[in-house]
């Protein structure tokens, strides 16, 4: 297991997602569960995206939504659990933040992500075929870059970690299935 903070969360997140592109390019089943109550697109550093390959092309990516777009292009199944903008409107969260969340969800829906909402959601995690990244970090610029955050990452390899991974994957599937599909009205 790797201890995750705001210093390495984006690196792990991007690596997990790029791996799904590699996997999908081989015609293998590839997926990503993205769980975060707050979601807003944010720019990605070219250092995180730096990836050389003669089997996939990771270029023309500037932001998180672009990266998800690349995954969708390769046919990766993306399942997102979050809170709906309508639900957030009942809280004290700023209007501009809610609008940004709505805009990002709209972009993600447009590129073919399955989005579900859950008003009780507080957990944050990214789960792919290769591992689990979970902790305090929302999928926002603040959560991934600015705030002091803490969490953990463990790969889907062997031993205890594999067991933990499988448990977390089942948990993510449950959260997603118990959430409500995002509609235009939500």
């Amino acid at each position: 297991m790797v201890h995750v903070t705001e210093e390495n969360v984006a690196i792990i997140d991007v690596d997990l997602l790029i791996h799904e592109c590699l996997r999908a390019s081989e015609g293998k089943k590839a997926f990503a569960y993205i769980i975060s109550p707050f979601i807003a697109d944010f720019p990605l550093s070219s250092t995180w995206l730096s990836f050389v390959s003669n089997v996939i092309d990771v270029s023309d990516i500037d932001s998180y939504v672009d990266l998800i777009g690349l995954l969708r292009h390769h046919g990766v199944n993306i399942k997102i659990a979050t809170r709906s903008p309508n639900d957030l409107a009942t809280t004290t969260i700023s209007r501009s933040f809610i609008e940004r969340q709505a805009r990002t969800l709209s972009q993600l829906a447009e590129i073919g992500c399955e989005i579900r909402t859950n008003a009780s959601l507080h957990a944050k995690a990214t789960i792919t075929t290769k591992g689990v990244l979970s902790g305090s970090f929302n999928l926002t610029q603040s959560g991934r870059i600015f705030n002091l955050e803490a969490g953990f990452y463990f790969p889907n390899t062997r031993g205890t970690e594999k067991k933990e991974y499988e448990e977390k994957l089942r948990w993510a599937g449950k959260i997603f299935s118990e959430s409500t599909p995002l509609t235009e009205s939500s």
């Binding site: 790797v2 201890h3 995750v4 210093e7 390495n8 690196i11 792990i12 690596d15 997990l16 790029i18 791996h19 590699l22 390019s25 081989e26 015609g27 293998k28 944010f42 720019p43 550093s45 070219s46 250092t47 995180w48 995206l49 730096s50 990836f51 050389v52 390959s53 003669n54 089997v55 996939i56 270029s59 023309d60 990516i61 500037d62 290769k130 591992g131 610029q141 870059i145 600015f146 990452y153 790969p155 889907n156 390899t157």
Partner: protein, 728 residues
């Protein structure tokens, strides 16, 4: 008419009117016509009087002076042969208050040349062009539709006997501007002042199938008219040699690991003087190529901008490469090709005879044998006994597989004799390996430069040296490509928080493709080459989309190329390059023409380069025809493996080993080899290992997954999956 005459006329008309009114015998029709005529005459008289009352017109002395000057300029232009200063005069021709621009698009460079088309009926005779442009597209021997869409040729004079064009019809600066070295000779290069052209009467002229000269022009073909064919105008390209004359250095940067071991330093050259010599031209028609040399070479000195890439090719890499027989055998072939090509013109032979002549030679010294022993081959070459066999082989191959193979045995003997006099030993191969590696790196740098700056290969040129490769803008005065490449050389800089601030009002600008990213991708194995090697080795296709697509394309072709592909698998891909030269393999297998061509096609797999990786065609400094003897993707791949050898480990090594490499070098390559015996595809195990390290903290940095590529080295029957880990 005096001023009183209208009055007098009017008085007479008045009297006439009175008389007419009083004449009772005058018929009414005549009366009416008379009064109409009187009325018209009165109007005319009145207009005349009015015009006399106008003020006097004054003489505009300034306009007169302008017209006088214009007349002088026109007479001056008519009197000079070379109207290159017309633009300077033209401004004075404009009518006040307007100013005539010198040109809609001013030539960018300082050097200009006049293109002269005498007998260009009904059209202007002279055209001013930038010299750099003229040397690129209007060199002697080229055809152009640039002027009114009419086909024109820049003259060469007769060359078809000697393949040397004496440029006497053009006006060259009498003093050489610099010297270039070619085939051991120092040649003076002259700047063209006026290049003469002529109109090509026919769109489909007759072309001699021996020398590729165009009938009816100035090329003076003396071959039989029976071997001329009506074809479209042939394509051509200049044979260019650049030479650095002076430089002014700017800022320097370093690339990220592991690229810093290839290119330790990149320096911007804010001012670079380059001598560009056009040594001749390459002409292609009907799948044949001839190269014509100029006597003397023409050229110019270009003031431009560039980037210098420091390269330190370690001598122990050359030692290492010399231990790779597959690479050495092909390098030997490339050396021999260069020696022969340098002697073709001198022996009055067109360039397209290179392959049969080379084929005869490599067969006679035993270089065509699968896994030939390099030492034995060099020994065979040195004893000169091969010449008779090579002569016979070439003549037989030529007459069997080439249309109109009219090589004279005497000339061929002289050529082989001259080749045999050259010493061939390990040091020659060693130098060749280095030269090929440097040239291949230069191609990769140029392509990466095009990707980063968005320019085309024609916008950049390259120079190669022992310790440095220079890319420079191909336009006199520069075109901005080098500057942009340097600006986006590396994304090494740390992530700046300011970059992440979202500003809805700002237009989103996509991040650039940094030069080091593009260069790193070009250093990876070629997708086409990997697919071909895996396919012909009978290894199972990796699942990756692009390689699989290429693999399946070969699989589909297998039905119609079954014999050919079987042969490739039998001899092994590492022997394909030499086997693809000429038709010695087909001759040995007694194949007919069509079968021989199919086998040659099947043997042409990407070992030393293809358009997908580093082949530049006419943009190669050696020209498209000879390019394959000057570059090698296999050597470049071997260099990459060599330089990354100390950071490359099997994926199954202990964590501490990988961490130690990352700590020391900042980078580690995990690899997993898949052979026929290994059933699983291996990639999952490799990536499982990679993701055990992702995000780990090592010192003050974190491990990142930064690359993945598939390889199948020239000398190993295996697939290698490689994953790159870096510390960020």
């Amino acid at each position: 008419m005096s001023k009183d005459r209208p009055t007098e006329l009017q008085e007479r008309l008045n009297r006439l009117k009175v008389q007419a009114r009083s004449d009772a015998n005058l018929p009414i029709e005549k009366f009416s016509k008379l009064f109409q005529a009187i009325q018209a005459l009165e109007n005319s008289a009145e207009n005349y009087s009015a015009s006399l009352g106008q003020p006097k017109a004054h003489v505009d002395m300034q306009a007169l002076e302008r017209r006088r000057r214009k007349l002088t300029v026109i007479e001056a232009i008519e009197g000079i042969r070379n109207p290159s200063y017309f633009d300077e005069f033209a401004a004075t021709l404009a009518e006040h208050p307007y100013a005539l621009p010198k040109a809609l698009f001013d030539p960018q460079g300082k050097e200009v040349v006049t293109i002269d088309f005498p007998n260009n009926l009904g059209k202007p005779q002279f055209y001013k062009e930038r010299t750099d442009l003229a040397l690129a597209i209007l060199y002697p021997g080229s055809f152009t539709y640039r002027y009114f869409g009419v086909p024109m040729k820049i003259e060469t004079g007769q060359w078809s006997q000697t393949f040397v064009a004496h440029l006497r019809m053009h006006t060259l600066n009498p003093n050489p501007i610099f010297k270039v070295e070619r085939n051991g000779r120092r040649l003076d290069v002259y700047k063209p002042m006026l290049l003469r052209g002529r109109q090509v009467e026919q769109g489909n002229p007759f072309i001699c199938m021996n020398c590729l000269s165009v009938a009816g022009l100035d090329e003076g073909c003396f071959h039989s008219p029976q071997i001329r064919r009506p074809l479209r105008l042939p394509s051509s390209s200049p044979v260019i040699q650049n030479q650095e004359l002076q430089r002014e250095k700017g800022e320097s940067v370093e690339l990220r690991p592991p690229l810093d071991s290839f290119i330790p330093k990149v320096t911007y050259l804010r001012s670079l003087k380059v001598g560009t010599a056009v040594l001749g031209f390459e002409r292609s028609a009907a799948n044949r190529v001839t190269i014509v040399d100029y006597d003397p070479p023409i050229g110019m000195i270009m003031e431009t901008r560039g980037i210098a890439f420091r390269i330190n090719i370690p001598s122990h890499f050359l030692d290492h490469a010399l231990q790779r027989p597959a690479i050495v055998r092909d390098a030997l072939t490339q050396v021999l090709a260069k020696w022969i090509s340098g002697l073709l013109s001198a022996n009055g032979m067109p360039s397209y005879h290179l392959e049969p002549i080379l084929s005869g030679l490599i067969h006679s010294i035993g270089l065509d044998r699968e896994n030939a022993d390099v030492e034995a081959v060099m020994k065979n070459f040195s004893n000169r006994h091969w010449i008779a066999d090579a002569l016979q082989m070439t003549m037989t191959e030529g007459s069997t597989y080439y249309e109109r193979f009219d090589v004279q045995q005497r000339r061929l003997h002289a050529l082989y004799d001259a080749v045999a006099r050259r010493p061939l030993d390990e040091s020659v191969v060693r130098n060749e390996l280095k030269a090929i590696l440097v040239h291949s790196l230069a191609h990769s740098l140029l392509i990466a430069g095009c990707v980063t700056s968005g320019c085309l290969p024609i916008d950049l040129e390259y120079l190669t040296g022992d310790e440095e490769i220079v890319l420079f803008d191909s336009a006199d005065g520069g075109n901005g490509s080098s500057e942009m490449i340097f600006e986006f050389c590396s994304s090494k800089g740390s992530f700046r928080i300011a970059e992440t601030e979202e500003d809805a009002g700002k237009e989103k600008i996509n991040r650039p493709k940094y030069f080091d990213e593009a260069f790193a991708e070009l250093l990876l194995p070629c997708q086409q080459g990997v697919a071909e090697k895996i396919f012909h080795r009978g290894l199972s296709a990796p699942g990756h989309e692009e390689i699989k697509r290429r693999y399946l394309a070969l699989e589909r072709q297998k039905e119609s190329y079954s014999n050919e592909y079987r042969y490739v698998s039998e001899i092994g891909v590492e022997n394909c390059f030499r086997s693809s030269i000429g038709y010695h393999v087909s001759l040995a297998r007694r194949l007919q023409g069509r079968e021989a061509d199919r086998l040659k096609e099947a043997l042409g797999i990407c070992l030393h380069g293809c358009p997908d990786c580093l082949v530049l065609g006419n943009k190669c400094n050696e020209g498209g025809f000879f390019e394959k003897y000057y570059v090698s993707k296999a050597i470049l791949d071997e260099y990459f493996r060599f330089l990354t050898n100390d950071v490359t480990v099997d994926h199954s090594v202990r964590d501490s080993v990988i961490e130690s490499i990352l700590r020391d070098k900042g980078v580690a390559i995990l690899t997993r080899r898949i052979t026929r015996e290994v059933a699983d595809k291996g990639e999952d195990k490799l990536l499982d290992r990679v993701f055990e390290f992702v995000g780990r903290r090592i010192d003050q940095k974190f491990v990142k997954f930064a690359g993945f590529w598939v390889d199948s080295p020239l000398e190993a029957d295996e697939i290698r999956h490689n994953a790159l880990l870096v510390l960020v």
